[in-house]
Amino acid sequence: MVDTALEKIVGSENILTAADVLAEYADISPAVTPKTPGYAVRPENAREVEAIVKWANENRTPLVPVSSGPPHGRGDTAPYTDGTVIVDLSRMKRIIRIDSRNKVAMIEPGVTFGELQAALAKEGLCAYMPLLPRRNKSVVCSVLEREPITRPGHHWDSTDPLLCAEVVFGNSDRFRTGEASGPDTVEEQWEMDRVQMNPFGHSHVDFQRLLSGAQGTIGIVTWITVKCSYLSKVSRSYLVPSDDIEPLLDLCYQLVKFRFGGNIFIVNSLNLACLLSSNHQEIQDIKKELPSWIMLTSFEGYGILPGDKVASEEADFKALAEEYRLKPVTTTGNASAAKASQLLLQPSPDPYWKTRYRGAGQDVFFLTTLDKTPDFSAEMNKLVESCKYPPQDIGVYIQPIVQGTSCHCEFNFYHDPAEADAVNELTNQACEKIAAMGGFFSRPYPAWKDIAYQQAAGTAEMQRKIKHLFDPNDILNPGKLCFSIPEVR
């Protein structure tokens, strides 16, 4: 029975109760025990979100904010308690403003990468993209979850490209972070040339850092501003193949340190094949022609001398590659650098690239430094062999972040959906191994959150105190991160 107060807030047409519809909010991750949400509400704006959070506090009803479309596979939006109300933000899909001079876009949670890229292109800009996100992936969600972007030279801080945000905290206070706070509406701020581009503060707290990586446990974000890049007028891309990952890492360090190149990342042959192909057979055909490892790098020309920029970076890149006895190519086997680079500007075409090889995939990712990645890779190979999982079915993605000071290291255990339980067990073992080796689970999704927090007792204690300040009734996404599920509702 839907509360009439809630109907008054969003209208009965925006309260979803049908079982088949609610099933779409279920999480397919084997790491979570699914609970069916009571219903889903679809607010239209921040005022409605605020009212929903107030209602939830009065009724002690847990809320789980969701902004991306299905399938949900990481467990962070899975309801952990019966009666949970999903706050589906997909109706909030305005691109509120694009400021081309300052390269800032203000967007609501329902905006997808495809929609944002199309709008930005008209202004001569482009978004900082994660690696081929799902077509219905929310930009806001991706940014808040610190999904790595493929342009490490522009990734100054772990929160990039996040700038400012409007949020409804768990106590129902509406708040704007960084430069966006103040007595004026955002429209009035624009009149003052305040464009919500500066993320600091207000004051002695960086509030946006408490939202980033929070999995919706601190507040429900109703818009963010993101920094954008110029759309390239000239672009040149290369694949750097190698059977040995070490020289690729050396080159990668140099490129990122000196900020040569735009997109820079390393994948193994299987993942490059998955990115470039549309089905299992094609993947196998492409993969067999590839060396073990490939670095993709692109040179992006924009500004007043786009051609000169690309030429200059390209020359240094080639000289560096030669130092490490590497040979950059534009194609290798059936893999084309230009095609790969073009793909990076958009979400993944369907089917999603991580499902193309075997129908499903379990990701395990963590932070480390580039020089440590070969050790992790070797250990994963050993581990899967002991678990009778075929090593050739592991995808690897290494993404330098924060201008090369660390990297996102991701293993993809591709599998038949029917093998989910076995892969879940493999994932557990992999996570334990990774943690023991010093891998850092900065983004603790349910599959490895317990392992992550085993080594972070002080952080957990502090996070619980902070959570209490912003969400004293534990309304928001209970049970995630280090937070327990309240026993009495």
């Binding site: 001079r101 500066n198 002695h204 408490l210 340190k257 850092f440």
Partner: protein, 560 residues
């Protein structure tokens, strides 16, 4: 108020008798810095009850536990440059002088990070990092500023932020002694691993470590930090030479180091200067950049010589070195580019010349002769320090928010109109009265820039001091026309809270940020033992008000 013997002995037992003092003559060397007269009416701020020099994190933790036991206020500092790094809310406060914790613990050249203790200065890290081909951004206040102070605990803005970022965005790991004495390691360091990320698991505790500014000791002691480093294109070592008999301040580089080029183009007016500045910054070619602030002149040996040089400059009139062409400091910019190859430098120089040409830029001999460029390089890369010497004091960044260049221009011009009156009356030093706007770009302008403006006044001239306070009161009054640009200094920079009441006055206008800040303070420091004068009061005291506005209360209150 002195500490009881039992209290003093408890502290002494932790650090040893050699590293604690309550000698008044020594204590008073710790609480006299610039800015005191402005805020406290006296040369000295509140005298500490004792000063301790702890050796390590364990000692600091124990000291803080004693503070909790006896209700003693503590405040840590490293270089102690600013008045707010030494101010105390009451006389039962102790200062923790961290100069014994001065080690560079690690430089990981490959992963571009350094792990340092609190008394490692920016310049010392710059010297060491250069040996590894790396660099840490300079801080405006000079060579001796602490790395941890700038990155984790205080403010710290700089002309290299265009390339090296700042304001805490370079922090990769932190060891933090909380006001309860507990030790918190953030991020990847908590498990004992390498300090390459301070974020998580989950949301980042960097959010409460600092915002635009740090807590200035108001929520504990950062005893170790890992900071991000950036490429250094110059030599592993350098020497600033001087002729026999010249003072140390005359030391200079003979030329701009290989790997860098410096240009000081000038433009016809302010509008052109600011337009070209935006385009240069967004071209992603700059290593350091300054508008209207050109350190091409030598620093003089003493204050009298410095003052004489300024008088000479003023006589030349309106900062204009060449009235015929209109070339002036205000309409000139310092551009430093760096590159690891000749090709990279050539591209960047070509780009710079095309952009400056588009706006009619010219390269005057005066600013662009090799010696001047070398001096400009040294000043902007390593910082010669702040300009306190002309009048003995200054009001830095009086409103100074961060944001878009267009907003900062608007604000600076409005603020300059107010300041002009004081300059014309002789209360503030006038550099000629020309229109001038300066901002410091952050990350190639991708997150905006920091507005910067200064007013120089004489704290020992009653009229000048009164004018300085009147000027700041106008900017800090939330009923003023400036209230739409953001909280002064974005709510934290150089104010003394018991005097200026920034949070109490402005929080309600700015989404009640102060409510959360105060809750965070209480959560971290339940017994209020970490000094809050440059953070936030645990409760708002009942001060004199004009309507909603809490009036400034200049002067020293020893028992707040």
């Amino acid at each position: 108020m002195k500490l009881a013997e039992e209290e003093y002995k408890a502290l002494e037992a932790i650090v040893g008798a050699e590293y604690i003092t309550r000698e008044p003559v020594i204590l008073d060397t710790y609480n006299q810095v610039w800015g005191n007269v402005f805020f406290f009416d006296e040369k000295h701020s509140v005298r500490p009850a004792a000063v301790l020099l702890p050796a390590n994190t364990a000692e600091i933790s124990e000291v803080i536990k004693v503070c909790n036991k006896y209700g003693i206020l503590f405040k840590p500092f490293s270089s102690g440059f600013e008045y707010l790094s030494l101010s105390l809310a009451n006389t039962r406060g102790i200062l923790l002088d961290l100069k014994r914790m001065n080690r560079i613990l690690e430089i990981d050249a490959k992963n571009m990070r350094a792990v340092v203790e609190p008394y490692v200065s920016v310049y010392r890290l710059q010297l060491e990092a250069a040996r590894h081909g790396l660099y840490t951004g300079r801080i405006g206040v000079g060579y001796s500023a602490g790395v941890i102070a700038a990155e984790c605990c205080h403010h710290g803005c700089q002309h290299t932020m265009v390339f090296t970022s700042g304001y805490g965005r370079n922090t990769l790991g932190v060891e933090w002694v909380l006001p309860t004495g507990e030790i918190l390691n953030m991020g990847s360091g908590e498990s004992g691993g390498d300090l390459f990320s301070a974020d998580g698991p989950g949301f980042s505790l960097r959010g409460i470590l600092r915002g635009r500014t740090g807590a200035n000791g108001g929520h504990g002691v950062v005893t170790k930090a890992s900071v991000k480093l950036y490429p250094w294109y110059g030599p592993p070592q350098w020497e600033q030479t001087r002729k026999p008999g010249e003072p140390p301040s005359f030391g200079q580089l003979e030329r701009v180091p290989d790997g860098y080029r410096v240009f000081v183009p000038s433009f016809k007016d302010l509008d052109a200067t600011l337009e070209v500045s935006e385009e240069l910054c967004r071209a992603e070619i700059l290593y350091a950049f300054g508008i209207g602030i050109i350190g091409t002149a030598q620093m003089q040996e003493g204050n009298d010589e410095e003052w004489a040089m300024i008088q000479q400059m003023m006589q030349k009139g309106n900062q204009s070195f060449d009235p015929a062409s209109g070339i002036s400091v205000a309409n000139s910019v310092v551009c430093v580019i760096g590159g690891r190859s000749a090709g990279e430098l050539e591209y960047k120089e070509k780009c710079l010349r095309v952009i400056t040409g588009k706006y009619g830029g010219s390269f005057s001999e005066q600013f662009n002769e090799p010696g001047a460029l070398a001096r400009a390089f040294a000043d902007i890369i390593w910082s010669n320090g702040v300009n306190l010497r002309a009048t003995g004091d200054f009001l830095p960044s009086s409103s100074s928010p961060d944001g878009s260049p267009a907003m900062l221009k608007k604000l600076a011009l409005e603020e300059a109109e107010v300041k002009r009156r004081y300059e014309e009356s002789g209360a503030f030093l006038s550099m000629g009265g020309g229109r001038m706007v300066s901002w410091r770009p952050e990350e190639h302008l991708s997150i905006g820039a920091q507005g910067i403006s200064t007013a120089q006044y004489d704290p020992y001239d009653p009229a000048s001091l009164a004018a300085a306070r009147e000027f700041i009161d106008k900017l800090f009054d939330p009923r003023s026309p400036f209230n739409r640009y953001g909280v002064p200094s974005r709510g934290g920079c150089l104010q003394i809270e018991p005097v200026t009441h920034i949070h109490q006055n402005w929080g309600r206008l700015y989404d009640n940020y102060d409510v959360y800040l105060r809750k965070i303070k209480k959560m971290l420091d339940p017994n209020t033992v970490a000094d809050w004068t440059a953070f936030i009061p645990p409760e708002y005291p009942d001060y004199a008000k004009d309507g909603d506005y809490v009036l400034p209360s200049y002067g020293k209150e020893e028992e707040i």
